[in-house]
Amino acid sequence: MPLAWRLLGIACFLVAWQAASSIVKSELILPPPPIVLKALATLSTTTKFWSSVSGSLARVLESFLLSIAIGLLSGFISGISQSAKAFLSPFITGVRATPVLALILLAMFWFPSSQVPVFSAVLMAFPVMHTSAEAGIRSVDQNLLQMSRLFHVPKRVMLWRLRVPSALPYILSGAKNALGLSWKVVVAGEVLSQPRMALGSAMQESRLMLETADVFAWALVTILLCGLSEYLFGLLTARANLVYLPIAPQADARSSMQDQGKYEE
């Protein structure tokens, strides 16, 4: 049923797009969906298309992994220590409030064009990861913490067996948001910094040549890649939740085990 509603949503969007295009009657301003799909099909046969996709994908992966690493580290420290939280909070708030375009323009002074999108995306995405990791660390069950302390569980064991698994749902949710944000900021950064082999650069070139259908096609590719990566990440998340947090299906698991005669009481 959700799939049917999803497909219906997409169909309505395409109908609205087609209707708007028919009203505007200008392919230069708003090309209809069939023209955009045709442009996308044509582009996908070129080497430039695949090199742009791979170039942007590499930048997104680089910025995503860096955001995760930095955000996890700072978030964990912030979650464990109030002093560290107070120390880091002005920086995090400052970065969060900085407009992404201002960041990209500044980064263009400091970095080669290929790394401008990465730097910008890291600065935009890592605070998301930071906040999630911090909230996750703070969400740990105080009763379990007290139990661990009373049993003198070493801090290293407590970190990996209690704090990290407790924080995992927050971390995974933050990472998913960081991934989507990385795509948006990387492509925006590419539009401005114009590196070689980039979806954003190709988008900008098409705009300069007034190829509106191509601009739409490049945007569509970005949306599809972002959606696909979030979907794949969602599969990983579901797997991790299954391994670490089998809490939700409690009643089902128990009754099914009773059915199988494995359950004692």
């Binding site: 139990m147 009373l150 947090l245």
Partner: protein, 248 residues
């Protein structure tokens, strides 16, 4: 060497919780602290274990003692199996073999060997409590503190839990302190019952029980006699004989 609590006093702000509490415990004995809910039993337990400091009074014979704990709720890590939950609590011990041996031994005595790879959500409430008990016993200690560990389960599970407790306790016989508001729990398990009053708690009386655990059958005349004495200490004679004092 016996352990003694002398004139213990504790308040939180203006609220006086413990007022001149005194009693003694013999090594390898089971002491039940019996009193109404909210009278300060857990506070007393926390002072014994050193989590809280008393305002006045003295606790002797507990210096350099190792403590283990069993809580009212099982406090298990949902993502770890039964044996990994025990391994987690024993992480401060040296020697993998020793840890594995203790885990196997206490899981077996708690009747959970075949469930060692199960996670908490796959176990019933009673089994989770037994696991929590097994974990408390597996952690090498001189003194075992149990805070309402036999509450919040149905009668069948409670009896199984108390039997599991006695079986585990007889293995190494740590000095056990059981906090409870249920007099039957105390009568069934304890060698001595320290009866506390309403807050601010003081000791209303101490009942020594000399009947061996095997002979403590509910309904027996011997246990009934102890029960009458306990009612007397609690000041319940002639009143509704509700043994669960949480409503008082």
């Amino acid at each position: 060497m016996s352990m003694a609590i002398r004139n213990l006093r504790k308040s939180f702000g203006d609220l006086l919780v413990l007022d001149s509490v005194s009693f003694e415990m013999q090594p390898s004995s089971i002491t039940a602290i019996l009193g109404p809910s909210g009278c300060g039993k857990t506070t007393l337990l926390n002072i014994l274990s050193g989590i809280l400091a008393a305002d006045a009074g003295a606790v002797t014979g507990l210096e350099d003692k190792r403590f283990s704990y069993c809580f009212q709720e099982p406090r298990l890590l949902a993502w770890l199996s039964a044996e990994d939950n025990m391994r987690y609590a024993l992480a401060s011990l040296q020697g993998t073999n020793t840890i594995d041996q203790r885990i196997s031994r206490f899981l077996e005595e708690a009747g959970l060997t075949e469930f060692r790879h199960f996670r908490p959500h796959q176990l019933s409430g009673g089994m989770q409590k037994r696991l929590s008990l097994a974990r408390a016993f597996a952690f090498p200690s001189d003194i075992l503190l149990l805070d309402e560990a036999f509450s919040a389960v149905d009668l069948k599970q409670k009896i199984e839990l108390m039997q599991a407790f006695l079986k585990l306790w007889k293995d190494e016989r740590p000095t056990a302190v059981i906090v409870t508001h249920n007099m039957h729990d105390a009568l069934f398990l304890a060698d001595q019952i320290v009866v506390l009053s309403q807050r601010p708690a003081h000791v209303r009386g101490i009942l020594q029980i000399n009947t061996p655990h095997e002979a403590r059958l509910f309904g027996s005349s011997e246990l009934a006699a102890y029960e009458q004495q306990l009612y007397g200490l609690l000041g319940f004679i002639g009143l509704d004989q509700d043994t669960n004092m949480s409503s008082n």
